[in-house]
């Protein structure tokens, strides 16, 4: 593989995989597998390169059992599934990060003129114990089909534990001087339910279907290496605003708890949680996270003669968004009227709920719960209406198939979040729910014509 700078990068992985399957009369299914993966030297040392990842799954088609036969008239099929498995990942690693090998780092001029000496130092301080990050997933579920295929449903429960999570840039102490190697520092647990329900039928020429799904998610960091209090995530201006810490959702928002606007001065006031009489680091607390309580989706379709209609929407509930747009050093840009202007404190509006212009502690305000919003939303992703022209009409002009349609894409969003887009995210892991004003999804009105000759 060639990197952007033109350097060739070699990656090798060495794997064994074995699988056993057992199927009895289509009623009982059993599967077991084991894989053994070895990473190359750029990722792990020889000592720890091998990871072993087993998996088992079982299925039971209940509807094939004798005792189920009386229900068969209306209950077409019912399956039970259970699975457990482990997987390894090293995607967080690169470039011999466990080793104390020397690396070039910068140029320094030791003589006058443009003439540099290449600098070199150990790339990291080393970690011989570095090993595979493992995720372990446990799943139980039912799938069912009823009423002659008209109704389908699925119920799943899952837990996914990520163990020995690879974490970079940990600090055992401020006096070490060098860069630490990544360590296997934490465990994360995700668990939840997934429900799916579908119905499809027709009334004469009118066909319709409805599908809905709902997933719940609970996410928590269950362990972190004792050498680390918390791992820093995304930053905003000079502050780290998301953190990875035991007992909290991954990369939760940590900031000051906004109390109220001081009616005397218009300055924001914060809760002194540690009771030391001043607002400082000790008062930082969990002020929200980007993990939704549940997400859901719904799809409706209908067709009558040549007409067809699709409506498709998704939603999320209970996720927070951290509005990281206000920077105290940018006085005149990037300010949302709803967030900083409406109902602000002025000498004539001393009950305002936003700070006065130029208030004290705006740097704390910018990383406080005042700028964390409920990011729950429901978006109608698409409403599409189509019409397929009658075949007999088309034959005359040698056209096989023609459909015209009009579509509203990403057109309706229902959310109380005042920013551009409640789905905002600074990056996929450490910056979930951090709104730095990224370009929002645009609303689209699409007219189309499909023709096949």
């Amino acid at each position: 593989m060639k990197s952007v700078s033109g350097e060739t990068v070699d990656n090798t992985k060495y794997s064994y995989f074995g699988r056993l399957s057992y199927d009895y009369l289509g009623r009982y299914l059993l599967q077991a597998s084991l894989r053994a993966d070895a990473a190359d030297l750029s990722k792990l040392s020889k000592k720890t390169r091998w990871g072993y990842f087993p998996a088992v799954s079982a299925g039971w088609t209940i509807s094939e059992e004798k005792f189920f036969q009386p229900l068969k008239k209306w209950f077409d099929s019912l399956k039970f599934r259970a699975s457990w498995g482990q997987n390894g990942s090293l995607s967080a690693l690169s470039g011999y990060s466990y080793s104390t090998d020397m690396a070039q780092g910068g140029l320094y001029p030791f003589t006058s003129g443009i003439n540099y000496t290449q600098a070199a130092a150990p790339s990291t301080m080393g970690n011989d114990e570095l090993k595979w990050e493992t995720s372990e997933q446990l799943n139980f579920g039912f799938d069912g089909i009823l009423f002659g295929g008209r109704m389908t449903f699925g119920i799943d429960y899952f837990t996914k534990k990520t163990k020995d999570l690879l974490v970079w840039n940990t600090t055992p102490s401020l006096i070490i001087g060098g860069a630490t190697s990544p360590i296997n520092a934490g465990n994360v647990e995700n668990k939840g339910f997934e429900f799916e329900l579908g119905w499809r039928d027709h009334i004469g020429d009118f066909n319709y279907s409805i599908r809905a799904n709902l997933s719940t998610l609970k996410n928590e960091v269950t362990y972190i290496d004792p050498s680390i209090t918390r791992v820093a995530g995304s930053t905003f201006h000079t502050y780290t605003v998301t953190w990875f810490e035991q007992g909290y959702p991954v990369y939760y928002f940590r900031g000051y708890e906004f109390d109220k606007i001081d009616p005397e001065t218009g300055n924001p006031l914060f809760k002194d949680l540690d009771g030391d009489g001043k607002i400082s680091d000790g008062d930082l607390t969990n002020i929200g996270d980007a993990i939704p309580d549940f997400t859901y989706g719904i799809t409706l379709t209908a067709a009558y003669k040549g007409f067809d209609l699709t409506v498709f929407g998704t939603g999320s509930h209970g996720n927070d968004v951290f509005n990281c747009i206000n920077r105290p050093d940018y006085t005149t840009s990037n300010r949302l009227k709803e967030v900083f202007y409406d109902n602000r404190w002025t000498p004539t509006n001393t009950t305002g709920d936003k700070p006065r212009a130029g208030a004290n502690d705006m740097d704390k305000y910018a990383i406080s719960s005042a700028l964390v919003y409920d990011g729950s939303y429901f978006k109608i992703k698409q409403i599409q209406l189509g019409y397929t022209l009658p075949k007999n009409l088309l034959k005359k002009v040698a056209i096989n198939h023609a459909r015209i349609y009009a579509s509203l894409d990403d057109y309706f969003t229902f959310s109380s979040y005042p920013g551009f887009d409640p789905e905002a995210s600074a990056n996929s892991t450490t910056g979930m729910g951090i709104d730095k004003g990224s370009y929002p999804t645009s609303k689209k009105i699409v007219f189309g014509l499909n023709v096949e000759f």
């Binding site: 030297l41 020397m102 030791f110």
Partner: protein, 522 residues
């Protein structure tokens, strides 16, 4: 079920049969430079390790400079508006706590310098002249870093060797431990005879790296800070009598701070930058970008528009008290005063005015001049990010050596030498020479000569003058408009107190390392 067992057995056999392929995973690192155990064995490699130490110093410089000058009484931290860099503001107003980010970065950054130095001191194998020089250079910077640690934090740990992981959580050291290491490192470097000296004051080449005289200057300073006046006087006199350094007089006083006069005769040590577009991204820093006047509230015309690099952020504006101190000594038309800072009237005459209705935060109507970035300082004049100057970053200049020596001589009872040294400074500043000298004369001279040059805070603490000078600092903060100065921001808890004699051991360190104790009063 028997079949399954057979499969498992087959899999197991297959696994064993193929293990010989595993050596394909042993991918050697590209351009592998070897491990740290074998690297430090050639002159070229040792030079690369030394370059890495110098780069560490250069990357620390910004934080080192900003933290110490915000803590002193020369400037307002200022910036675009209230809260623009809250960490600096809190240092400047003495509202900071143990969690201050600047203090934490400076603390860990000094240990990064020590780590780079320890790599050389502990790992270099061999005794070629290059290697001996590198080891002694590393000792100079290890001592320098410990000097900053002991004068700022007092009880931070001494780290005199590469730490094993089991030693990462050291407990507090005593100031005496620090001074012992500083003296032994610098004495060893001086006595090794491996550090070069400049050929003469105008030698712009040799002083790019640490010289014999730099080690002597650091050691003299360390003696003075411990009250060892005789030793300090002797050591600093060595630097002066070497004749290898001189006060800058080739151009106006203020020009010594600009790229044109990098490595001039007054430079004891400065971190290097080059006028090189190819490398400008790698040597960018925000020192002058931060300190340039706040461009977005100003209009530039005439001479100012053609010489000043615009797009700067307006931190570190001089206090009126500093201006007043200059006027008391030099008068409002003092040469050095006018080459150090400007009043608003002088600024306007130069071609810069505050935009109508605009507010200059953290400003009493005085504007620093000696730290401005000129267009001619820029590798590229880039107003969207004015961080591309090639002005070297000063760590120590000869004026400081003369003033340290004046103080040491006075305290040691050699008034004549003290008078000679302070008068050298005064003559260059176009002031009348003194006929007698007191400690207060030296204190004032040093404040004016070296304002906003990273020495004042440690001096005030050492002299016991900090509470007098800064007890009220941070009570209220000004903003300047064309109609006058407004004091729109107040603190209820402010000012230098007894506990500030030592900076707090960073909260993060206390959280990470249970062996460390807080400093008194924190």
């Amino acid at each position: 079920m028997k079949k399954n067992i057979l499969y498992i057995a087959l899999l197991a056999v297959a696994t064993m049969g193929f293990t010989s392929c595993e050596d394909q995973l042993d991918i050697e690192k590209h351009g592998n430079m070897g491990s740290q155990e074998t690297y430090y064995t050639t002159d070229d490699n040792v030079n690369s390790a030394t370059a890495s130490l110098y780069l560490q110093m250069r990357s620390l410089h910004y934080n080192w400079f900003m933290t110490k000058n915000c803590l002193a009484d020369d400037v307002w931290s200022a910036g675009g508006s209230r809260g623009d860099n809250g960490d600096m503001e809190r240092l400047n107003e003495y509202t900071f706590d143990m969690d201050n980010g600047m203090i934490q970065s400076l603390y860990s950054g000094l240990y990064s310098v020590i780590y780079k130095a320890n790599l050389i001191i502990d790992k270099v194998q061999g005794d070629t002249p290059t290697m001996k020089r590198a080891i002694n250079e590393a000792k100079v910077f290890r001592a320098w870093a410990h000097f900053e640690l002991v004068t700022l934090w007092g009880t931070a740990p001494v780290v005199d060797h590469l730490l094993e992981p089991s030693e990462y959580r050291k407990g507090n050291s005593t100031p005496a431990d620090h001074w012992a290491l500083i003296e032994s490192d610098l004495t060893a470097a001086i006595e090794s005879g491996t550090l070069p000296s400049k050929s003469d004051a105008d030698d712009q080449e040799t002083g790019i790296r640490a010289t014999q005289e730099l080690a002597e200057a650091f050691l003299g300073k360390a003696y003075l800070f411990q009250g060892k006046y005789n030793e300090a006087a002797t050591m600093l006199d060595k630097v002066i009598s070497s004749g290898k350094y001189a006060l800058f007089t080739a151009d106006d006083y203020d020009m010594q701070f600009h790229a044109k006069y990098n490595n001039n005769c007054e430079s004891m040590f400065e971190l290097q930058k080059r006028n090189d577009q190819e490398q400008m991204g790698n040597q960018l820093d925000m020192l002058l970008l931060m300190q340039g006047w706040r461009s977005d509230v100003l209009s530039y015309s005439g001479l100012a528009n053609s010489v000043i690099a615009q797009g700067t952020y307006g931190f570190m504006n001089p206090r009126k008290s500093l201006y007043d101190a200059f006027v008391a000594q030099e008068g409002a038309n003092g040469y050095r005063l006018n080459k150090t800072m400007m009043t608003y009237e002088q600024l306007e005459a130069f071609g810069v005015s505050v935009q109508p209705g605009a507010t200059v935060y953290g400003c009493e109507g005085y504007f620093m001049w000696k730290n401005q970035s000129l267009k001619e300082d820029c590798v590229m004049d880039f107003s969207a990010f004015q961080g591309l100057q090639y002005c070297n970053l000063k760590v120590m200049r000869y004026a400081e050596v003369l003033l340290l020596a004046a103080e040491a001589q006075l305290q040691a009872g050699n008034t004549a030498k003290a008078l000679d040294y302070i008068n050298q400074i005064r003559t260059r500043a176009k002031e009348t020479p003194l006929t007698s000298v007191t400690l207060n004369d030296i204190k004032t001279e040093k404040r004016l000569e070296l304002c906003n040059e990273s020495v004042r805070f440690q001096d005030l603490v050492r002299w016991g003058d900090a509470i007098t000078a800064m007890g009220q600092q941070g009570k209220e903060i000004p903003s300047f408009t064309t109609t006058g100065v407004k004091w729109g921001f107040q603190n209820t808890n402010y000012g230098f107190k007894e506990k500030h004699m030592l900076l707090p051991i960073p909260l993060k360190e206390l959280n990470l390392n249970s062996n460390m104790q807080k400093n008194a009063g924190w």
